[in-house]
């Protein structure tokens, strides 16, 4: 192909296109269609989520308390910022501002790595706490049998879990995020504190036995890891694409105002961002 395009004065125009505009429009349509397939790809998981949640709401109510809303919200902000920087990068490429372009792509990369770093912290919490998918699910804190309280950390979770402290239960949900964010090292404990507390609140209103871990609670973590894991793979793909853009920028591909590549990666990145927002809502912020 490269040998073919040498006959054109525009090095970016492939031989089978008549004009750069036609080539750009084709790439753009192709990318949009690809994004549609991505949505349907994730759609299957969202559908599985919806069906399972409709059948077993208690598992989701129980499980989501173990997710750290603070870190999730932070990651959401990080990704939204990265969408801004990548959009800015497209604008810079259009205006041939190569320095700004490189800066913006680098900033987007920083955001992407920050996101993955936070995700790593979250995953390792769950890893240590044994809050894993399916067969690997082996929580190291047991809930509801009320015999813990030996360590200060576990008091936090055990007190409401035992259902004996209505005061603690009502207090805890008021500030769940700071509590969890403040203790990132005590992985298995902090999320649990908000967890049973939230349940206990409901229990105060409706019944007594909701604090117990529901059957098949591990399915929540299966779904959590499947959805965020697939999203994480997409983030990795985006990181690869952005390094490629930096390489292209160094090579001088964008000096002529050819911005198709940046535009395509940006479209993809916006979708990755958008899917995360839904994941955040559906996994972290449910009641």
């Amino acid at each position: 192909m490269t040998s073919h395009s040498e006959s054109h004065h525009d090095p970016h125009l492939a031989h089978h296109f008549e004009s750069p505009a036609q080539q750009y429009q084709s790439a753009r349509l192709g990318m949009w269609v690809f994004l549609v397939t991505e949505i349907l790809f994730f759609g299957g998981l969202f559908c599985a989520y919806a069906v399972y949640r409709a059948n077993h709401p208690e598992i989701f109510i129980f499980g989501h308390h173990f997710l750290d809303k603070g870190l999730g919200a932070f990651n959401t902000v990080v990704l939204i910022c990265s969408s801004l920087t990548i959009a800015w990068a497209v604008r810079a490429a259009q205006l041939k501002q190569i320095r700004i372009l490189k800066l913006m792509i680098s900033l987007t990369l920083v955001c992407a790595f920050t996101f993955l770093g936070v995700k790593y912290v979250e995953y390792s919490h769950k890893w240590h706490a044994g809050l894993l998918w399916a067969r690997s699910y082996a929580p190291q804190v047991d809930h509801g049998d009320g015999d813990h309280g030996a360590t200060p950390e576990s008091v936090q979770m055990a007190a409401p879990a035992g259902g004996e402290s209505a005061a603690g239960a009502t207090a805890a949900p008021a500030q769940p995020a700071p509590a969890t964010a403040a203790t990132p090292d005590h992985s298995n404990i902090a999320p649990a504190a908000t967890g049973p507390a939230g349940l206990a609140v409901e229990a105060a209103g409706g019944g007594d036995e909701v604090v117990a871990e529901p059957k098949n609670a591990q399915t929540f973590f299966s779904i959590y890891f499947l959805m965020t894991g697939l999203h994480g793979i997409h983030v990795l793909g985006g990181i690869g694409a952005m390094f490629w853009l930096l390489f292209c920028a160094r090579r001088g591909d964008f000096d002529t105002g050819h911005f198709t590549k940046v535009d395509m990666v940006a479209l993809y990145w916006h979708l990755v961002d958008l899917i995360w927002i839904y994941l955040f809502l559906l996994l972290y912020l449910i009641h």
Partner: protein, 565 residues
């Protein structure tokens, strides 16, 4: 537009075409494996797909041979389960889904648009490579103990069986992405590379059919991808979404699977219908009848294909209301299908019909597809489906549609474009003999299955009652006759590659753009800018005894609109 001839052969004129064709443009295996030329990719796909068809056919013959007698004949019951699974999986995922679009579509679609290539040639090559990787992974499952779940991989059996389900589903997952990329490429190509003057309703109907197929490929296949991933996660991690012991729902798997796999049935049949529209018009030497109806019916089928998946689960405990809705929607698919069939018949009416080999396949299609389609209505009707569900009636129905429809049209298309693909004519006499053998062999094989199915013979059974023996034996002998037909076809087609007569540019009298270039076409497809006119203006052509092909009666015909600036 400047005339741009890629490669060294600058400014090729029609006279020098013979020396510059895509087959000889580069030498060596690597020049093929890394080509970006849609024609070469189409030919590579053709080789891969026909090899898969051979493999799937061998499995089918083993299944039929086993069923010659009740009880053990040549294999154990476990091997039999693996054989019919492999037959289904190989035929569906490796052969029939990529079948027409990736081979003939890849080759012909850009030519019909007067374009130099598909819009995204690199993606096209990537799609082929994905197909190869997926095929290797899927076929590797045979070595790893094969699969015995049936090609649908229904849970809970597929999550508990000890066979190589992961390898096969991973293969199908990768093949799915190959299919998505092919479809995506065609959508962009049709939208962006049409020549000036070729409005949507001046596109050849083959393009309409492939375009509708591409929409389904792009919208349905990702769902299969995630479904198979979930199945793999279920097996490796024990996730439980499909496992009732963990609060999951095995019927959810069926919903996911058929949300893809029912539209996939139309991924198979729409390209076949696309070929039919070309064959009917060209071999009747008459303008297609009801152009707009055929074009819209392709889109209608694509849309309806997404709304009928539930008819696979009439007996799976679906609610009565859902059954009723899905049944009604299923019936509605018959409308656009019938629109096509009647328009083809009307095209033949008062035409000057040539019974060349491609037309024999087209006529076979009309006959077999009508039977396949109408028996689909039996199965779509709730009451009769209870009786016929999971019997040989279903097997016969989908073989009439898939084989009698898609494979027969694929053969018709292959014969129709063979001169364009390779620049050689095959033996017409042997072509007709082959078509006849396949038609007779097919009907003997599968019509008997309608009868035994309606008498209650269940599908996928290793053993059967003595009363079904005559049907099973007739079916098996029919399958041997069918294989003989394919041996004949393979024989004369291969022979033609080396000894065949040189093909003229337009051997049949088609008016679409691919017949305007040489056979085989040059790497750049056309030596000059293309002209777009009415693709079915077949009466403007006349037979030229000198070249033994068709030429325009008036080369400067006013019907042609000049394209380009």
């Amino acid at each position: 537009m400047t005339v741009d001839t890629p490669g060294a052969a600058a400014a090729a004129s029609p006279a020098t075409h013979a020396h510059d064709n895509y087959l000889t443009a580069g030498r060596g295996l690597l020049s093929w494996l890394f080509t970006l030329d849609h024609k070469r990719i189409g030919v590579m796909y053709l080789v891969g797909i026909l090899s898969s068809f051979f493999l799937g056919g061998v499995f089918a013959l083993l299944v039929r041979t086993e069923l010659l007698t009740p009880g053990p004949t040549i294999m154990t019951a476990d091997t039999y389960n693996k054989m019919f699974t492999l037959h289904g999986a190989v035929m569906i995922f490796l052969f029939i889904i990529p079948g027409i679009p990736a081979t003939l579509g890849n080759f012909v679609l850009p030519l019909m648009l007067g374009a130099k290539d598909v819009a995204l040639p690199r993606l096209n090559l990537a799609s082929f490579w994905l197909w190869m990787i997926g095929a290797v992974v899927a076929v590797a499952s045979i070595i790893m103990g094969a699969v015995d779940t049936g090609w649908t991989f229904y849970t809970p059996y597929s999550t508990t069986t000890g066979t190589a389900v992961i390898s096969m589903t991973l293969g199908a997952f990768i093949l799915g992405f190959s299919s998505i990329f092919t479809g995506l490429n065609f959508i962009v190509t049709v939208h962006k590379l049409r020549p000036e003057g070729m409005t949507w309703f001046k596109m050849p109907l083959f393009v309409w059919g492939i375009y509708s197929t591409a929409i389904i490929q792009v919208l349905a296949t990702p769902v299969l991808g995630i479904t198979l991933l979930l199945l793999i996660a279920e097996r490796t991690l024990g996730v439980g979404i499909f496992d009732p012991a963990l609060g999951g729902d095995p019927v959810l798997y069926q919903h996911f699977f058929w949300f893809y796999s029912h539209p996939a049935v139309y991924i198979m049949i729409l390209p076949a219908m696309a070929i039919m529209s070309e064959l009917m018009s060209v071999f009747s030497h008459k303008h297609i009848f009801g152009y707009r109806f055929i074009a819209w019916s392709s889109i209608a089928i694509a849309v309806l294909s997404f709304l009928v998946w539930g008819h696979h689960m009439f007996t799976s405990g679906q609610s009565g209301l859902a059954n009723m809705v899905f049944s009604a929607l299923t019936f509605s698919v018959a409308i656009p299908s019938a629109v096509k069939v009647f328009n083809w018949l009307a095209t033949m009416y008062k035409g000057s019909i040539s019974l060349d080999t491609p037309m024999l396949y087209a006529l076979s299609f009309l006959f077999l597809f009508s039977i396949g389609g109408l028996t689909g209505l039996f199965l779509g009707a709730l009451a009769t489906d209870i009786h016929l569900h999971d019997t040989y009636f279903v097997v016969a129905h989908f073989h009439y549609v898939m084989f009698g429809g898609t494979v027969i049209a694929f053969l018709g298309g292959l014969h129709y474009w063979w001169p364009k693909l390779f620049g050689r004519m095959y033996s017409e006499r042997w072509g007709r003999i082959g078509a006849l053998l396949i038609f007779v062999g097919f009907n003997v094989t599968f019509f008997t299955q309608f009868v035994m199915g309606s008498h209650g013979m269940p599908r996928r059974y290793y053993n059967y009652l003595e009363q079904f023996k005559p049907y099973h034996q007739a079916s098996t002998y029919g399958s041997y006759l069918l294989s003989l037909g394919f041996v004949v076809v393979a024989g004369y087609l291969l022979h033609s590659l080396f000894r065949g007569e040189k093909a003229p540019n337009n051997p049949w009298g088609g008016a679409t753009l691919e017949w305007e270039t040489s056979s085989p076409p040059p790497s750049s497809n056309f030596a000059h800018e293309m002209l777009a006119g009415d693709p079915y203006d077949i009466e403007s052509l006349r037979f030229d005894p000198e070249t033994r092909g068709y030429v325009r009666k008036d080369p400067g015909s006013v019907l042609l609109t000049r394209v380009g600036a």
